[in-house]
Symmetry: C2
Subunit: 566 residues, 2 copies
């Protein structure tokens, strides 16, 4: 591409709307443009990167015999009502009515539809395995769209589905897909970890996530270097590595604690020790209130709580201010177990504590030196997030926590959908048996965001060769120097002849502007054609800083060989 | 692709839901599947064809320097409110609210968004021309989705937009795009005509349509073989080729005509001559009623009427039964000009008639021998569709009428959108000047439907090589004959090595089933590997019937050369 007659722009100023490095750099480099909350255009430069990612995905899918199709986005709502997932998705699903008042939704994920497609060909056990995928838009009405391309409402997703006659087949199909995913993310150049996760709204037997490691990740990855345990924090089990505290039980005492509303206030105003405080959180589970007691510096884990209460995560909400005040007869911030007449669920860790502080169910009052003997609780269990001072639940070693962006996931669905939606086959004995399904996703644009989060410096993006929109940028220093123009064009043509995507910056701009732009948009290899052409030389610079030197023009062929060898 | 382990199915039975040949064949061949009214899946085989069409479009777009991007489908409604097009699209636009009650629509066409994108780079006259395109889903809430892929509610469209500094530039950009469109449809192998059309909801200076000629087309094309005049019937001007009738004026007479409601009844019950009858149609234009008089065997042209009344097509509706009865004091079917107290608009052709029949504004009565002297009219003009007995409005020769499916369109928008939405540039004298825009569309999936309508026989589709999902089908007669298996695999590999898409039907099915399936899905070239391999021969058959013979296996290379030479 010759920049002089192309659609191209960059912005020097940071975007005021983007809170992440990737969002900002992608907007500044003219790759994407915001169209609304969580909705983006892909401009020519950005679309090229997206297409490169899609191509890698497509190749690896085709390599394992998965076949591509495309589902509509606009779908009759009945599809999800019949599968029971209309309620599961709730407000996350965009819904609309057509001119005849019939209800439709914008597809958030397509299990139901793929199952219908599979029905067309699956009659007997001989008709499997089948593997199908699509690369298409998905829609979710995120409560808080944010982080550029990371949490959006219209997004490009590759979703794949496998259909097998038994669990053994499913294991095989799952493994094929799993290995393909590793290849995909390796080829793209993402730094990722694979963690176990909750099967969540998808249901099923197993869920694993491909998490791109970055500080802005919304997921917390719990990793053990020793035994390679890796898990999303949401399902990571807490194994206590301490015994009950050995302290003499004191008698509880009501103390006046005005002007505090939070744990932090208690610490800063009264110098209480967070290790000796227990917070009592009131939750509403399908209309019934429960009190959950966890140590003050821990986080309640709704998923674990839902399992303990045998309900779904969606069934659990934090109680409203009104509900809390009604239950505790006090303002929010003073809930405690003593005198509370709703069921109390206590985190296992709290059972080891002695002489701790709790709210007193009385505005501006707390109890100190509370002990288990002072109240009754209904349930005890692991209801908090694992923390960095916990040990590996498998081997007991020290854990490492990282933040991650989920860029891919793989689900062993089993027969959950095939049973409820009637996808069965005749086995060798002519019995009707439900099909075993797997479901697999990759967030195409989210991968781009993750790569940029992981690969940038103060000058801009540093894109991997595999997905860069152009592998090489030729910067022509002077449009008026005929030798330079000639050499630049010749080099440009050399790359073109080898089908290597190359950009020739022949704009009527100062060299500094050109260098800045090429750095910003992250082109991996820059070849500067300037005065040194007189000596048969051009300047070669790798965007990642690994190489910067003058080379003979004749050696361009080595660069080409290097790129093609990848 | 080896059919034995692929997603593949065909249906022997005609689809009950599809009223067109193309819809039926595409469903029967497992290329598409209906997901809802006007909503379809593209299954693997069908998606391959779609991708081939897209690829041809993409190549020709890139050849003329148009750059690809992608717009979101989910768009803030404001975008269309601000451009004034929210009302123009009306119920044709899908609209929805997000969880925060903000209004969104599903984009039916993207002029506004492309204009925003162009704003990023257009500052001065030096920044043009610019040409951009996308291939993406569009959404329209069609009142009557029908005809398989022809009139759907979610559809794949290539839309392109050009931006120029003046009309001369627009002419050039338009011509480039126009020529590219011809190449595209030629390469795909569509039989098409280019006709002038109404600028309609798009507005602008010029509209031309690429119409695929087929009997089920919803558009009527008016063509003159002599002067090459070609026009959509909606804008084709009527030039009268007759003089006023030379008849003595008779006196009008009220006649009793019970039990008739239509022109046809009058003809069959009373043997009136349609050439001597005038129908009076009552229309409602923004709340005001008008009577339109046209010859009984003509069709009212709402577009022409709207121009005469200086309003939009959407402003004009046929009056309701109630309105007609109120205006005529008679049941529907007896409207006429005499004694009517709403404005009368008369078609130019009627002014040449003498002694004609009209309704009498009295139930069960008509007047015969009515003449212009018998009533007053407000306006006279061309308000009917041109008919096959009319002459070419340009050269006066005989016309030919054809039916067409609009597969592409090109609009010279001029400065309509750039003015209303503020896309201007600084000219050489630093004056702000509005940009000249062009807008260009191709209905990707509709092209497929049109090709199938044009290319099929009783056995199924006959796809052109350019878009066929597989160029060659190798039918292996016996899986148990090792020689046959070996030869079939060798030939298969020969095509694979040349990157020619090839299908090997190695299913455990009878030859008849395989032949039927390959014919149904329209693969252009069939190579049957059967007993003749013993003599070094296979059977070659072209789906279009142009060739059927035994060839030496060694001559497969000629077939390959032939395909690659295209």
């Amino acid at each position: 591409m010759r920049l002089s007659n192309s659609y191209f722009f960059t912005k020097r100023e940071d975007s005021k709307e983007e809170e992440t490095v990737s969002g900002n750099l992608l907007v500044r480099s003219g790759m994407i443009k915001k169209a609304g909350s969580g909705i983006y255009y892909f401009l020519p430069l950005g679309l090229k990167v997206i297409r490169n990612i899609e191509q890698i995905v497509r190749e690896e899918m085709n390599n394992i015999g998965s076949e591509e199709l495309v589902m509509p986005s606009l779908l009759p709502e009945d599809v999800y009502v019949n599968s029971g997932r209309r309620d599961v998705f709730g407000n996350d699903m965009f819904s609309l009515k057509d001119r005849n008042e019939r209800s439709y939704v914008l597809g958030p994920t397509h299990e139901e539809m793929f199952l219908e497609v599979a029905k067309e060909v699956i009659k007997s056990y001989k008709d499997m395995p089948i593997s199908l995928y699509q690369i298409a838009n998905k829609y979710r009405d995120e409560p808080r769209p944010r982080f550029g391309l990371i949490r959006v409402r219209e997004f490009i997703m590759k979703d794949a589905y496998t259909f097998d006659k038994d669990l053994e087949g499913l294991d095989k199909s799952y493994q094929l897909m799993f290995d393909a995913y590793k290849k995909i993310f390796d080829r793209i150049g993402v730094n990722y970890r694979i963690v176990r996760a909750s099967t969540g709204a998808m249901g099923g037997l197993l869920s694993e996530e491909f998490q791109a490691v970055t500080e802005i990740g919304e997921d917390t990855l719990v990793l053990c270097d020793k035994c390679k345990y890796s898990s999303n924090i949401e399902i990571s089990e807490v194994k206590l590595n301490k015994k009950a505290e050995e302290e003499e039980l004191k008698t509880k005492e009501l103390i006046h604690t005005p002007n505090v509303g939070t744990i932090d206030d208690l610490v800063s105003n009264y110098h209480f020790d967070t290790d000796k405080m227990v917070k009592t959180l009131i939750v509403n589970v399908k209309g019934k209130l429960y009190a959950c007691m966890i140590k003050s510096n821990r986080e309640l884990n709704i998923l674990k709580l839902s399992k303990l209460l045998d309900c779904t995560e969606n069934d659990i909400e934090l109680a409203t201010e009104e509900e809390v005040e009604k239950a505790t007869h006090a303002k929010v911030g003073f809930a405690g177990p003593i005198g509370l007449d709703i069921p109390i669920i206590i985190d296992q860790e709290v059972t080891l504590m002695k002489n701790f502080l709790t709210g007193a169910n009385k505005t501006d009052y707390h109890y100190v030196n509370v002990n288990l003997e002072d109240f009754k609780y209904s349930l005890e269990g692991d209801i908090r997030n694992i923390a960095e001072d916990d040990i590996c639940p498998v081997c007991g070693a020290k854990l490492e926590f990282k933040r991650g962006i989920e860029v891919g996931n793989t689900f062993k669905l089993g027969d959950k959908y095939s049973k409820s939606l009637g996808l069965s086959y005749s086995d060798a004995d002519n019995n009707l048996v439900p099909v075993q399904m797997g479901s697999y996703g990759i967030g195409i644009a989210r991968v781009l965001a993750a790569v940029v989060e992981q690969n940038h410096d103060e000058s801009g993006m540093i894109l991997p060769l595999s997905i860069a929109p152009y592998k090489v940028a030729i910067v022509l220093i002077s449009n008026n120097d005929q030798d330079q123009v000639k050499v630049a064009n010749e080099i440009y043509q050399q790359f073109k002849d080898e089908f290597i995507e190359v950009l020739l910056d022949d704009r009527d701009e100062r060299p500094g502007v050109k260098f800045k732009d090429m750095d910003l948009i992250g082109i991996p290899i820059r070849i500067t054609v300037g005065k040194k052409v007189a000596d048969g030389k051009v300047e070669l610079k790798y965007r990642d800083g690994s190489r910067a030197e003058d080379i003979n023009i004749a050696d361009i062929k080595d660069i080409i060989r290097g790129i093609k060898g990848l």
